[in-house]
């Protein structure tokens, strides 16, 4: 008879992590293969189509990077807060707040202050700053409630999502509706001076903003006193206080950074992709960012890698429908299986599976 038992590992090596990741993917893909066979599709063809759809050519890679751009930024946003064990579930709302603010600048500043030169060098920094500020304000309220009154940030950040999303829907359905839009919801299109420059296809400067942000966050985490304090608070708040670190100050500062990054995502999406405030900004990038940050183990450079891979999974998933003509649900199940396996496989990074042989005579 053979049985299995889990034993806690003292330390986890990089090799173990990679092996576990590979194993998790194998499990997910095998499970997916069974599902595909069950609906009469060829798993090889399906996975091939997904891979090709995500990374198979220049256009595919461009689209994957476009999809990855908001995930990099929200992943960083979440990683920053989670590093300090501040559970910011509100990246979605902070993103939307940033998108609203950036749109406000693009839509109304030309009218309110015609003397501001209408070119990208002036407008994009203004929009970005407004978005960061709006996101930060959106995150600051829960941060202050937490640090001064001890109000649970999970609840407040989550609720603030709904407030932001309802406000955003009200704005493009009502007061900010395009007067030329035949009554259809959505703001007017921004002037071209408010467009993020594009490299090729839809690939816009937002990707570079995300990459720079990742490097900056990495520097903060690993090279600065502040990063050290964040880690200290995250690991042991009492010890941090004992070391003379102001927890109040750090909660506020970390949330400004975290929520500011989420706000910046909103700017990148409206100025880079939609060019107006309309349906399609709150598409759960803030929540997917939690998965990105978690899979990246809160490491800012790994966030970039994970965001691109996850974007590939999402973009490639379309091919299940387009190429194979299978229902959308099959693609979702495959995506879900892969994410669940990778997250669930994490247990084997922390525990060791040991095989036990038992003999019949013993009892």
């Amino acid at each position: 008879m053979i049985g299995f038992t889990l034993e806690k590992r003292l330390e986890t090596s990089t090799k173990t992590n990679l092996l576990v990741l590979a194993g998790s993917l194998l499990v997910a893909l095998s499970a997916g293969a069974l599902l595909l066979l069950a609906v009469g599709a060829s798993p090889l063809e399906a996975y091939g189509a997904m891979l090709k759809g995500a990374f198979g050519g220049r256009l595919e890679i461009v689209e994957t990077l476009v999809r990855a751009t908001p995930l990099i930024l929200t992943g960083l946003s979440v990683a920053v807060a989670f590093r300090m064990l501040f559970w910011n579930i509100g990246a979605e709302g902070q993103l939307v707040a940033g998108g609203i603010a950036a749109s406000a600048v693009a839509l109304f500043l030309p009218g309110a202050a015609p003397w501001v030169p209408q070119n990208a060098w002036v407008y994009l920094p203004l929009m970005g700053t407004a978005a960061i500020a709006a996101g930060a304000v959106w995150g600051l309220v829960p941060a202050l409630l937490k640090s001064s009154l001890g109000v649970n940030e999970i609840i407040t950040t989550l609720m603030f999502n709904y407030v932001a999303i309802l406000l955003y829907q009200h704005l493009f359905n009502g007061p900010w509706k395009d007067p030329e839009g035949f009554g259809f919801p959505g703001s007017a299109e921004f002037g071209e001076f408010a467009f993020l420059p594009r490299f090729t296809g839809r690939l816009h400067l937002g990707l570079v903003i995300g990459l720079v942000a990742a490097v900056l966050v990495w520097i903060v985490f690993t090279k600065t006193k502040w990063g050290y304090e964040i880690a200290l608070i995250g690991e042991n708040e009492t010890a941090a206080r004992y070391a003379g670190v102001s927890v109040f100050r750090n909660i506020v500062l970390v949330m400004i950074l975290s929520a500011g990054l989420a706000g910046l995502t909103g700017f990148s999406e409206v100025a880079g992709v939609s060019h107006r405030l309309q349906q399609g900004l709150a598409v759960n990038n803030g929540f997917t960012g939690i998965i990105v940050a978690w899979l990246a183990k809160l490491h800012p450079l790994r966030v970039v890698v994970v965001a691109v891979l996850l974007a590939g999974l999402l973009v490639g998933g379309d091919q299940i429908q387009i190429t194979l003509g299978l229902p959308a649900a099959i693609g979702q199940v495959l995506q879900g299986a892969i994410l669940l396996s990778v997250l669930g496989g994490d247990i084997f990074s922390r525990y060791r599976l040991r095989m036990i042989r038992t003999t019949a005579k013993e009892a």
Binding site: R67, Q279, F287, I322, G325, L343
Partner: protein, 403 residues
């Protein structure tokens, strides 16, 4: 520490559900403007997915067979908006024998452009994008693929190779109003409506004009649900209207809940999108319905013949067959049936339009004077109620419209 890690792992797992759903169904279409009601209905339909041929994908296949692609905002199983479009797609396959493909559940937002571009790149000759929120992405992709035709439903933008197609649902709404106006005994009609946007308001107004044409005492009470797809809200709204004395319930929603609520109360109702009588019963007196097959077939035929006007703005009418009302319930009396059929013929032959003067606003203003009719632009931006509607509209009725 360890326990906290576990705890957050749980939160994250819980989030997966939300996030995964989000990447495919977006914001649930809450503010979708086309009446394209994204549904989570899981009921199987007769929509034969197995008839979707596998496509080879990849390089543009210039000289090969004609291929059409469809981008849907909801699952084809919604029994409503998307289902109706998919009937059109199936008709293309069956009548013309061309190859089609579709992708469902595409959220309005950044993802839509990618999907549309992917179809174009795979060499589809025509791409139908069937939700208002696909307008900008459609126009964007059209500029990159001049040899591909794009057909956007329900928007207002066009390009050399991107046309805009929609239908005069108000014509069918008017007829359904006549049925309701004749059936009511309390003279109070209820209307469960999703969002106060022009398309919905136009429908309510046409319904009201139709009702009052046969019953000048009829009034229409409107309740906004602020959701396209919300079975409990829709049901509650219908029940509130019934309690307020309404005895016929009409709707611009995605489910049959208002119809069921009316039936449960022993009252009549008017459906929408599909013939809801077949799901709820004869208490559904009729339903304004979409039929996209004739237009889709003619677009493809003209494209194959090289005669299609790539930048057309087409607002189809009942004469074109894109809108109609479903067969009337046996509970509708013969006199009304005759009257409705007569009016239907007038609409089809062009001798009648619902929004021709005199039309008075809910505030008493004369919107359209005798002898004038609303222009298409005025129809598309309607944001006020006509006389006989009780409810909140974004604006007061103006005067002196029409030409």
């Amino acid at each position: 520490m360890t326990s906290k890690r576990w705890w957050i792992a749980l939160v994250v797992l819980a989030m997966i559900a939300a996030a995964c759903g989000g990447t495919t169904s977006g914001e649930g279409g809450d503010t979708d403007t086309t009446g394209a009601e994204p549904a989570a209905t899981t009921e199987a339909t007769e929509a034969p997915t197995e008839s979707t041929p596998e496509t080879t994908g990849g390089e543009t296949d210039a000289g090969g067979d004609f291929k059409a692609a469809f981008v849907y905002v909801a699952p084809i199983g919604d029994l409503g908006w998307t289902w109706a479009h998919d009937q059109g797609r199936i008709a293309l396959e069956e009548e013309l024998g061309i190859e089609t493909a579709f992708i469902e559940n595409v959220p309005e937002g950044p993802d839509a452009e990618r999907v549309i571009r992917d179809f174009a790149q795979k060499g589809y000759n025509v791409v139908f994008t069937t939700s208002f929120g696909y307008m900008d992405p459609t126009i964007n992709v059209a500029s990159e693929f001049p040899d591909t035709q794009f057909v956007h439903i329900s928007g207002f933008k066009t390009a050399a190779n991107a046309s805009n197609v929609f239908g005069a649902m108000e014509e069918a709404r008017y007829l359904s109003g006549m049925v309701a106006g004749a059936a009511t005994e309390s003279n109070v009609l209820g209307f469960v409506a999703a969002f106060p946007i022009p398309e919905v308001i136009r429908g309510i107004n046409a319904f009201t004009l139709g009702a009052r044409s046969v019953n000048p005492d009829a009034t229409v009470k409107v309740v906004w649900t602020n959701t396209w797809f919300g079975p409990p809200q829709e049901k509650e709204a219908a029940e509130a209207l019934l309690a307020a004395g309404a005895d016929v319930i009409a709707q611009h929603q995605d489910t049959t809940e208002p119809q069921k609520a009316a039936a449960d109360a022993g009252k009549f109702s008017i459906g929408y999108d599909s013939d809801m009588r077949s799901f709820v019963g004869d208490s559904v007196l009729t339903s304004p319905v979409w039929d996209w097959a004739p237009k889709y077939i003619s677009i493809v035929e003209e494209l194959q013949a090289g005669t299609y006007q790539g930048d057309e703005s087409w607002y189809g009418s009942m004469a074109d067959g894109v809108v109609d009302i479903a067969e009337l319930s046996p509970l509708v009396d013969a006199e009304t049936k005759e009257l409705v059929e007569m009016k239907r013929q007038e609409i089809i032959d062009g001798s009648f339009q619902p929004f021709c003067g005199p039309v008075l606003g809910a505030n008493g203003a004369e919107i359209v004077a005798e002898g004038k009719c609303l222009t298409l632009g005025e129809l598309l931006s309607m944001d006020y109620f006509v006389e006989g509607v009780e409810g909140e509209a974004p604006n007061e009725a103006p005067t002196g419209l029409g030409s």
